[in-house]
């Protein structure tokens, strides 16, 4: 089935909003401490056990690979301020900055190619993505309770 750019951008937007709520709904616990203490407590909190350390390393290396691709895509498509997404990743959340980049990438692709179709997915792809999203939202709700 064809997937429109509009639908893909709406999904990316929804992911960015859910990610903002999911990450900062947890980060809010450290906010009363002020910026410097917040950073110290937050990063200290990511070091407490092997699992939290593994996830931190996972996000860093995945981010490195994706940022390399994002910068090359930005140079190819003429998307400006690509390093701003890196800054937002570090100060807000990677899961907020990257979907916003994806939206701007779709807009840049649409300006080159007037088709409104972002691509094609099989019904099983869509079902799989919805199942993944449900699991992630459920996990996020658990973390916020």
């Amino acid at each position: 089935m064809n997937v429109s750019r509009r639908a893909v951008c709406q999904v990316y937007g929804l992911i960015a909003v859910l990610a903002l709520v999911g990450t900062w709904g947890n980060n809010i616990a450290y906010l009363p401490e002020g910026f410097v203490s917040f950073q110290r407590t937050f990063w200290g909190g990511t070091l407490v056990n092997p699992s939290s350390r593994s996830i931190t390393v996972d996000i860093f290396f995945f981010g490195l690979a994706i940022f390399a691709w994002m910068i090359m895509e930005a140079r190819r498509l003429g998307i400006r301020y690509v390093w701003l997404y890196v800054l937002v990743s570090m100060t807000v959340a990677t899961s907020v900055a990257v979907p916003v980049f994806m939206i701007n990438r779709e807009r840049a692709l649409a300006s080159r190619d007037t088709t409104s179709i972002a691509g094609t997915l099989s019904r099983s792809d869509v079902a799989g993505l919805i199942a993944m999203a449900i699991v992630m939202v459920a996990y996020t709700v658990v973390t916020l309770l």
Binding site: T23, T46, A133
Partner: protein, 149 residues
């Protein structure tokens, strides 16, 4: 400056290898619990405090957004086995399977377009990425030291 597909794939490969050691250097602590015990203990430990929970939510939604883009690219380029990467996201590491997908994407693009260049980067982009890599690798070594000591 033009970046060759070969160099880009080597960089992705290096990231995948370093990420594997960087993540499983911690995960091995749970391996003796068996597959389900390992999964249970890891996810339980990921809930230990707000920072760990925030990072886990971050990597999950980051992965979801990138995975949507990956599926669209895989269908466009005729790449097979895309859902195996999703499985590897969960059981090996998103930072290992993500770069491997990128290597196979470059191979698929090379099959369509014989141009050896993957794209262009400014010198400042390359410097920024190298600095980012140095910080990530240094931090990874510090974290591995914490687990092993």
């Amino acid at each position: 400056m033009s970046i060759s597909r070969r160099i880009l794939c080597q960089a992705y490969g290096l990231i995948a290898v370093l990420a594997f050691f960087g993540t499983w250097g911690h995960n091995f602590v749970y391996v003796h619990l068996g597959f389900f015990g390992c999964q249970g203990a890891m996810w339980r430990d990921s809930l230990i405090n707000p920072a760990a929970r925030s990072n886990t939510v971050d990597v999950a939604f980051f992965g979801l957004a990138v995975f949507i883009c990956m599926i669209l690219e895989a269908r466009r380029l005729g790449m097979r086995g895309i859902w195996i990467y999703a499985l590897f996201f969960i059981i090996v590491g998103i930072s290992v399977s993500g770069p491997i997908f990128m290597i196979n994407r470059e191979r698929a693009l090379a099959a369509l377009d014989a141009n050896a260049s993957a794209g262009t980067l400014r010198r400042s982009d390359v410097v920024g990425l190298i600095l980012g890599a140095v910080v990530v690798i240094t931090y990874t070594i510090v974290l591995l030291y914490m687990t092993w000591s």
